[in-house]
Point group: C2
Chain length 173, copies 2
């Protein structure tokens, strides 16, 4: 199953750090690509550096219109999951998503999201119905989707952490 993330509503400067966190979570949790409209060059630079240092081919792709990206994705009978506090419970939705077994585009909004997105999405999914963080929502969704396996992926980079009780142990190749 291919999984990509689409970040919409990114606001220049204001959302810089939050969108960077979204990208790093996507990469670390098994997503192959994040699409974003109007991202700062610094976010691309961060992703490139993290890939070089820690491994993976995770991509950050700039797109012009989120609507045409979604339309194209839906044409191939893949599914759209929109993460929102107003949606149906993640555990209920997940059963059907896994049964579908289709490639997924996970859409993550920043602040207000156009109503159109709720209509066009195959699943509007909530990670609890309380306000919190799109970064947390993405992490929980992917953790449920991959059932924790994403934390045990092999990354082949220049640097690799050796888990430690008290120290920072990094192997460099």
């Amino acid at each position: 199953m291919r999984v990509v993330v689409l970040r919409i509503g990114h606001r220049y400067v204001r959302d810089y750090r939050v969108t960077t966190h979204v990208a790093l979570v996507a990469r670390a949790f098994g997503v192959e690509k994040m699409l974003v409209v109007n991202a700062e060059d610094e976010i691309k630079k961060t992703v490139k550096e993290v890939n070089e240092r820690w491994g993976s081919n995770f991509e950050l792709e700039e797109v012009n219109s989120w609507k045409s990206v979604i339309k194209e994705w839906k044409n191939s009978s893949n599914k759209i999951v929109h993460l929102t506090m107003y949606g149906i419970d993640v555990d209920d939705a997940m059963k059907q998503i896994k049964k579908d077994g289709k490639d997924l585009m996970i859409v993550i909004g920043a602040e207000k999201v156009p109503k159109e997105l709720y209509d066009i999405s195959d699943y509007n999914v909530s990670i609890g119905n309380q306000p919190h963080s799109e970064i947390a929502a993405l992490a929980i969704f992917l953790d449920r989707l991959f059932e924790g396996r994403q934390l045990r992926q092999e990354f082949k980079g220049k640097m690799k952490i050796v888990p430690s009780v008290k120290d920072k142990v990094v192997k460099t190749t």
Copy 2:
């Protein structure tokens, strides 16, 4: 089991939004209080507004020194969990943490964290060994700790979401 979060290394302005996300995740995922050194008044205001609107008595408490807070916490034989990409695997650590059954202080750093924290913590726990986000790390840790129950907590606020397939449905009391 009481769970509190201690946010250390918060940098004024720069970390404002990330620390706000950390606080909202803590609140939504079953934590009773977050302690932070030197937080903006706006973060306290956001937490207060979210509590009033959506319910809960989640507290944001400003503290002067993270070291004395940790020392005091340890005196009562409670445990300290530090979330770090260098630590031991969350699923391994979680078995012992649940067996201990002690109250937990979860420490979340921003950027570089002093070595002292690794030494003083009972558990240095990693959510994967890749760089990502302290917001995601906190969410996954709490989700594992509460086994998903935190998403079904009852919050008694003025507003309540009715999960919906396509719409935003909010009940106001």
